[in-house]
Symmetry: D2
Subunit: 154 residues, 4 copies
Amino acid sequence: MSDNPSEMMQRFAAASQGGTAFMSGLGAQVIAFAPGRNTMRLPYAPHIVGNPDTGVVHGGVITGLLDQACGMAVGTALAAARQDGEPMRGIATLDLRIDYLRAAKPHADITVVGECVKITRQIVFARGRAFQDESEEPIALATGTFMITEIRMG
Amino acid sequence: MSDNPSEMMQRFAAASQGGTAFMSGLGAQVIAFAPGRNTMRLPYAPHIVGNPDTGVVHGGVITGLLDQACGMAVGTALAAARQDGEPMRGIATLDLRIDYLRAAKPHADITVVGECVKITRQIVFARGRAFQDESEEPIALATGTFMITEIRMG
Amino acid sequence: MSDNPSEMMQRFAAASQGGTAFMSGLGAQVIAFAPGRNTMRLPYAPHIVGNPDTGVVHGGVITGLLDQACGMAVGTALAAARQDGEPMRGIATLDLRIDYLRAAKPHADITVVGECVKITRQIVFARGRAFQDESEEPIALATGTFMITEIRMG
Amino acid sequence: MSDNPSEMMQRFAAASQGGTAFMSGLGAQVIAFAPGRNTMRLPYAPHIVGNPDTGVVHGGVITGLLDQACGMAVGTALAAARQDGEPMRGIATLDLRIDYLRAAKPHADITVVGECVKITRQIVFARGRAFQDESEEPIALATGTFMITEIRMG
């Protein structure tokens, strides 16, 4: 793997996105990323609807995206901080809390942002938010704790 | 809708399962339910894999199932407690915490159980656990708070 | 109780602070409040130390303050929104998550801010953070869900 | 420090209890402990009351006890598993979630139990519950994630 951080992050994002059959099955795309920060978009589509009467997206989809966005924010932070010759490190989600502030509107895309709040040698605290039109009115917030492991990622 | 509690619960479970395109897309099935308790099984399949190198199921899938199982446990508890003539009530997840205790083994089904811990007039506290072979060694635990709403479910 | 919102909030803050024997026993003071937002300061003192070898404040103290600050942020938001003639409403903490990002430094005061993130008719989501010198480097973050009840507060 | 596990755990419990000025200030006592499990009792007293009108104990007190009981369960598990010559390890709370199921009754003691659910090399997942007369009807539940550190405890 290249030691160029920017290329590495692009590969990391591509690998995480492409490799995750579940996420690509949802149709979610990474639209922006930087070390410690990640933005994904999920186009509205029938196969992610939880309630066919209302057209509201299934809560589990939003939760899955928030988990993924937070995990990728941790991954890009680690990739950017990695020194030449250091082994790649893996990430395990220890726990995740989601607060569901309001129902998602049907027929509207969902944007999810994950960010690192605090990075220590072994533990990373991350936060995420999911919103539709206005980022100031999130539909869900995430708070997660991740462990950095010595297991190689890929 | 019938006022027969048992029939009502079966309909409830069927509606929740069948109506949830996302969950049926995963291939999860309700294998047992009773008022305030729900058991689902997710057969192992390629489309739910998060890491193609290891074959490990995507964490977001387990989270989504735990959310669903807890929500259905709340739903069956409400359906069983409902008196003749009372309106059906809806359920909104307020928040959910997942603890990921160990990685799921690849090539093994996942069972998820949701249970109500405490039911008040407006709020229900539920717990869930996901496991593979042995229920004593969960792969993930869930703790969630749900609100009972006056919005009709279907 | 007065219907003047500003006086009401002052009384509310005073009652919550003065009436809470536990909190005043810690020596915490409300230093600023506005509808939906509350700031408290806890002067460093020997009786709040958790580890006498290091002088680090007990984690339970910080947790208690975060709970209190979030609850008071909810209380001032409700007081400000209350119409003439409406009954006062009570607040119950449904659940609270604390993330402990770094150890508190000994011999330094702790500031705790609570804020409402989303207010609905029955539920309020609040966030809190505890910090010492720099608010950009929190020692702990809180995420809580509160229920608005019809029980009078005082 | 003695290498006798039982004596070590007693010392550990004594040190944790006696050394914690905050907890002893509350009047809480350890009434039973074993590796990975800890039971504390908090006698009812005026100085722990949060609402003087109702006499209900301050929620922050219960949260602090649950944190302490879970942390001590982790500590006794580590002490029991420690081999001759190994350094003592420290414990840091990463995060803690409390669910407040019902209000504590005034004028009744509170019992708090902490237990380890899963112990890995670096991380321990613990659960706690607080109850009064009947352990089957908890007033609060705790779910916490703890990190094992290399810092000596005492």
